[in-house]
């Protein structure tokens, strides 16, 4: 069952001679529950592609369909709600709100919706994230790995259709990296969440079901590893 379809997506910066095509006419689709890795050298457009799929960066041309909705045809408010409920974005540099504590950061999407937190679910999540007992700490009191785990929690709290991770381990040591990837794989297997992960580390990419390779903004290889 197709959950994501990207049609001819492009992102161009600048104009004339100084034009830079970060993403150049990319098209592909992803089925529900797939674990896709997007790889490529620095500047190949991976992050840009991911951000466009997540609705945080408007493309220059092309369309993105999530669950058959053309997300860039939505108005600002509905696009925001889309981001809140359908997508979980994990960034390389955590991007937590420094003045909210762990629990508030994780539950931010829910709070924006005005919904009440299911304490049971939260407990479970904190347990899974190995953050039990850290609920009221501020980000600057956490290690890098802990912060990244908080941001994963934030991405998962709303049980979104798509989880998009942009170099989630880029800032972490190997032990933490492994933990993070395991967590993501867990949510992918257990909750059937579609996971698209951008990385330039091959050992991480090889853990995915499918690898899409980008170079100069275009797909050069799209192969299934584990069918």
């Amino acid at each position: 069952m197709e959950i994501l379809r990207v049609e001819n997506l492009s992102k161009v910066y600048g104009s004339g001679a100084a034009q830079v095509k970060a993403v150049d006419g990319v098209s592909f689709s992803v089925n529900r529950g797939e674990f896709v890795a997007v790889v490529g050298a620095s500047g190949s457009g991976k992050s840009t592609l991911l951000h466009m799929i997540g609705g945080v960066d408007r493309p220059t041309s092309g369309k993105v369909f999530v669950e058959d909705t053309d997300i860039y045809s939505l108005n600002e408010t509905n696009l925001a709600i889309f981001r809140r409920r359908q997508v979980g974005l994990i960034y390389q540099f955590y991007n937590l709100l420094p003045i909210l504590n762990v629990e508030e950061n994780i539950t931010l999407p829910l709070l924006l919706d005005g919904r009440k937190i299911d304490p049971q679910f939260l407990e479970e999540l904190l347990e899974t994230l190995n953050l039990k007992g850290r609920a009221s700490h501020l980000p600057n009191e956490l290690s890098g790995g802990e912060q990244q785990r908080v941001s994963i929690g934030r991405a998962l709290i709303n049980r979104p259709a798509l989880v998009l991770a942009d170099e989630p381990t880029g800032n972490l040591d190997s032990k933490n990296s492994k933990e993070i990837i395991d967590l993501l794989k867990l949510s992918n297997r257990r909750y059937h969440q579609t996971l698209i992960l951008v990385t330039h580390a091959h050992e991480i990419a090889l853990q995915a079901d499918r690898i899409i390779t980008l170079a100069d903004g275009r797909i050069v290889k799209d192969g299934v590893i584990r069918p």
Binding site: V56, E76, R84, L97, P98, L100, L112
Partner: protein, 872 residues
């Protein structure tokens, strides 16, 4: 508990310095707006109080009303308070030492009228029943020692008639030939004295005021009284009173214009209009200043939280939600700032007014009137609503901008990265002139156009406010300077009922007193002349000539009071004007000195002008002023006067006459001759029989001098002696000017404070936001000196641009203020150059100081921390 509001609250707490600066901005504006409204209301209240004491506390009067009509008017739905009064007429005052005031003039007031009419009890008590009386305390000094409190005295009422037994109108001045026909005798018990009523000053009724009790029950069906009312809604008075009059069948009614005009109800009232139009301008300027400060604060806050907003958007916060958090910030700051500001404003004004009252007490108004803090119930909600509106307007654009932030841009702060090459292009000349530091400074300013413009705009507004207010202060002083003239003499004595010999003696003795430098004895003769249009100066030709009486041949009536000064003073005056006194003494050909200056008081706008276009050598035909000008059988005596000189200096003791007259100064010799000529026909003329002497003294030390002059005068008359000690009055004028200064400079200070807060806030945040940038420059090897240079250049660019736009606008605002003041005062336009200079210097000092302070904090930064900074 809304997460976004929690975020806002925490952000505010974290950036405490900026939060407090913004709250201060709100407090300042609320305080100033509140204060302005309160002051305007207090001044208006002062005028109203004064009007009540001079003209009475009522809105309108119906005359000649019968009891049935009285009932209709008193019971009318519109009438809040009604009072009855009546004029009873004249009674003999046989012992009066004032030859032209041999009567009492009786009024009757009921209990309410006694409390509302403009009489002031100075001793005893108000009458409470029929037969009780108040009399003017002046009576005691004018031969009425017998009229003591507690005495019952019989008064002889009657009618004044002329020689043909025709009744005379009440305001006909006393004439020796008139007769008094007794009609009745009534006894009254005196229960108290009143101060000489204000209305006596302007009335020619030759009687001392006596106020008896009017018993409403004693009014017969055929009697007529006057009913005065206070209406429930004063604003409707011009509609309701005619209605009531028509319904009651009353044809004669009048409004108490004095009180109505100060309440702002009477139309075309310039004084109150000026007060409120100036207040409106001030509030507008304050509002503009406030919006700038508060807008800036929000713009900065939004800018700093840009990354936060981007994160929220990326996590799914809708644009509306983000917009609302910015407004929420406004709500929090407003809830703290507005009440504090209103309290500060009211408190500040309360304190200021009590200080000012101490200065003003006993001066321009009588002692029981003071500047009260008038808090109309509207002041608080009006100020709160106004400031809330200001906050809303200020937050609106930043809120919209916050909501429109694209999530990814905010996360990366890449709007700072997205630069067009052309935007930051600077000419090679810049680098040559200012070095790399200057070039960097200029590029910085160019690439962040919007931020640059906002900062320059704040600076501009501060400049405009400062210049406008300085202008206001200067004009206000000039205006009050025009109103409160500097008095050119130290002592004035006004003495009545003197024979010419007594006058001579007094003059000789006074001028010989130790300490007297100059002494002028002023006497005058009324004369008039008929002039052609061309002989009038431009001011009169353009403004008032059409109001003067005119003959069929097109000549206009103009008065020439002939004035003499006493020998010594005449010699001094001629010498001062470069003339020889001798040439003005000859009685063969009369020569006089024309004082060609007038001022338009009390007409508004008040202006000084030259009434006539006459010159040396011109001749005037002067005639006596007839009492009955239209009587064809009477020809007034005429003399020819050559204008020996024209000057614009007033001699000692002579001031600007009313509109339509100009003084002619003549020598004693000529004065005596002309006086004799006029005397021959004095019964037909407005002839002053010179029983009244006016002396003006300049003394080198006036202490005790006033008493000495009084003693001298007492030897020659039992009549009223009026001595004015000017030093006391000058002290008073000084105090009044000080009082005004306090208000005006207080405002300037607060306005400047708003400006400085603004500039400080903006510039220091600008610098703080570029922490990363500066760190990078430092990491590339920029020296502290280089850094300083860059900062300095930025300061210079800000200052120059701000002055470039701010100055002209400030000057325009000054012109606007000049026009407002021109409604009441007229003076030449001028710019406050001193203040403009202060402004220029001030702007640069503030900008430099702020940048230096902000920059110094950055210099101490650890480079790598700044590069990695997790800015909130």
């Amino acid at each position: 508990m809304n997460i976004l509001n929690t975020l806002t609250r925490r952000s505010l707490k974290l950036n405490l310095r900026r939060t407090i600066a913004t709250i201060i901005g709100i407090i300042l504006s609320a305080a100033m707006i509140c204060a302005t409204i309160a002051i305007a209301a207090s001044f208006q209240d002062l005028f109203v109080q004064s009007a009540k004491s001079t003209d009475g506390n009522f809105h309108a009067t119906f005359y000649d009303v019968n009891p049935e009509q009285v009932k209709y008017i008193s019971d009318n739905a519109y009438t809040e308070v009604s009072m009855l009064s009546r004029n009873l007429g004249f009674a003999r005052f046989d012992h009066s030492t004032r030859e032209y005031r041999p009567y009492f003039y009786f009024k009757e007031y009921d209990a309410t009228a006694l409390r509302h009419m403009p009489i002031k009890l100075t001793a005893g008590r108000y009458p409470e029943k029929a037969g009780e009386l108040l009399i003017s305390e002046e009576v005691l000094e004018s031969g009425g020692e017998a009229y003591r409190i507690g005495e019952t005295i019989a008064f002889d009422f009657g009618e004044r008639t002329d020689t043909e037994e025709e009744p005379l109108p009440a305001d006909q001045p006393f004439d020796e030939t008139e007769q008094f026909v007794s009609t009745s005798t009534r006894a009254y018990t005196i229960t108290g004295y009143i101060e000489k009523p204000h209305f006596e000053h302007f009335s020619s009724i030759p009687g001392f005021t006596a106020v008896a009790y009017l018993d409403p029950a004693a009014i017969g069906a055929d009697d007529a009284v006057n009913v005065s009312i206070l209406g429930k809604n004063p604003r409707q008075v011009y509609d309701r009173v005619p209605e009531m009059a028509a319904a009651a069948g009353v044809t004669d009614y009048a409004y108490n214009n004095e009180i109505l005009k100060y309440m702002g109800i009477s139309r075309n009232e310039r004084a109150v209009n000026m007060l409120y139009s100036v207040a409106a301008i001030i509030i507008l300027l304050i509002a503009v200043g406030s919006v700038t400060v508060i807008y800036n604060a929000f713009a900065i806050s939004v800018n700093e939280r840009k990354k936060q907003f981007g994160l929220l958007a990326s996590t799914g916060a809708a644009p509306g939600q983000i917009r609302r958090t910015v407004f929420f910030e406004g709500v929090i700051l407003g809830l703290i700032g507005i009440p504090l500001g209103i309290l500060a404003g009211i408190g500040g004004i309360g304190v200021t007014l009590s200080v000012v009252n101490r200065l003003l007490i006993g001066s321009m108004y009588s002692e029981d009137i003071a500047l009260r803090l008038v808090l109309s119930p509207l002041v608080v909600p009006a100020t709160a609503a106004f400031v809330a509106l200001i906050i809303f307007i200020s937050a609106y654009i930043p809120a919209k901008r916050a909501a429109a932030t694209s999530p990814i841009e905010a996360i990366r702060l890449s709007s700072d990265i997205k630069i067009d090459r052309k935007t930051v292009k600077t000419s090679p000349l810049t680098r040559r002139l200012f070095g790399i530091a200057g070039e960097l400074a200029l590029k910085n300013l160019k690439r962040n156009r919007r931020r640059f413009r906002t900062t320059v705009l704040s600076l501009c507004i501060s400049i405009v406010l400062f210049i406008s207010f300085s202008t206001f202060v200067n004009y206000a002083f000039l205006g009050t300077g025009l109103y409160y003239r500097d008095i050119p003499f130290d002592i004035m004595a006004d003495v009545y009922d003197l024979t010419p010999e007594a006058q001579r003696n007094i003059y000789e003795q006074v001028r010989a007193l130790e300490g007297v430098e100059r002494c002028a004895a002023i006497r005058s003769i009324h004369t008039e002349s008929w002039l052609e249009r061309e002989q009038f100066g431009p001011y009169l030709q353009e403004n008032y000539l059409e109001n003067f009486t005119r003959t069929r041949e097109g000549r206009y009536q103009f008065y020439f009071p002939l004035v003499t000064l006493g020998e010594d003073e005449f010699n001094t005056y001629t010498a001062e004007n470069g003339l020889t006194a001798e040439s003005f003494r000859g009685t063969e050909n009369f020569r006089g000195i024309l004082v060609n200056k007038g001022d338009s008081w009390p007409e508004a706008p008040i202006a000084e002008y030259e009434p006539l276009k006459l010159k040396e050598g011109d001749e005037l035909i002067l005639t006596g002023v007839l009492v009955e000008p239209n009587n064809p059988d009477i020809f007034p005596p005429a003399v020819t006067m050559e204008i020996g000189a024209v000057t614009d200096n007033f001699p000692l003791g002579v001031s600007s006459p009313a509109m339509g007259a100009a003084n002619l100064v003549v020598s004693e010799e000529i004065f005596e001759v002309i006086d004799q000529i006029m005397l021959e026909q004095s019964e037909h003329l407005m002839y002053d029989d010179h029983e009244h002497l006016q002396l003006y003294l300049i003394a080198d030390s006036s202490s005790g001098l006033a008493d000495k002059v009084h003693t001298i005068c007492e030897n020659y008359t039992d009549s009223r002696i009026y001595i004015q000690d000017v030093e006391a009055m000058q002290q008073e004028t000084k105090r009044i000017k000080t009082a005004f200064s306090i208000f005006l400079y207080g405002f300037i200070t607060l306005i400047t404070l708003i400006g400085v807060t603004n500039i400080f806030n903006t510039i220091s945040t600008n610098v703080a936001l570029r922490r990363r940038e500066f760190a990078m420059l430092k990491s590339m090897g920029m020296t502290p000196e280089g850094f300083n240079k860059m900062i300095n250049y930025e300061s210079i660019f800000y200052g120059l641009k701000a002055l470039l736009y701010g100055m002209p606008v400030g000057i325009l605002a000054s012109i606007w203020m000049y026009k407002s003041f021109g409604l009441v005062f007229e003076f030449a336009f001028f710019l406050p150059w001193k203040e403009i200079l202060i402004c220029v210097v001030g702007v640069f000092i503030i900008v430099f100081a702020t940048m230096l302070h902000a920059g110094s904090r950055l210099k101490r930064d650890n480079i790598i921390d700044a590069l990695k900074e997790e800015n909130l």
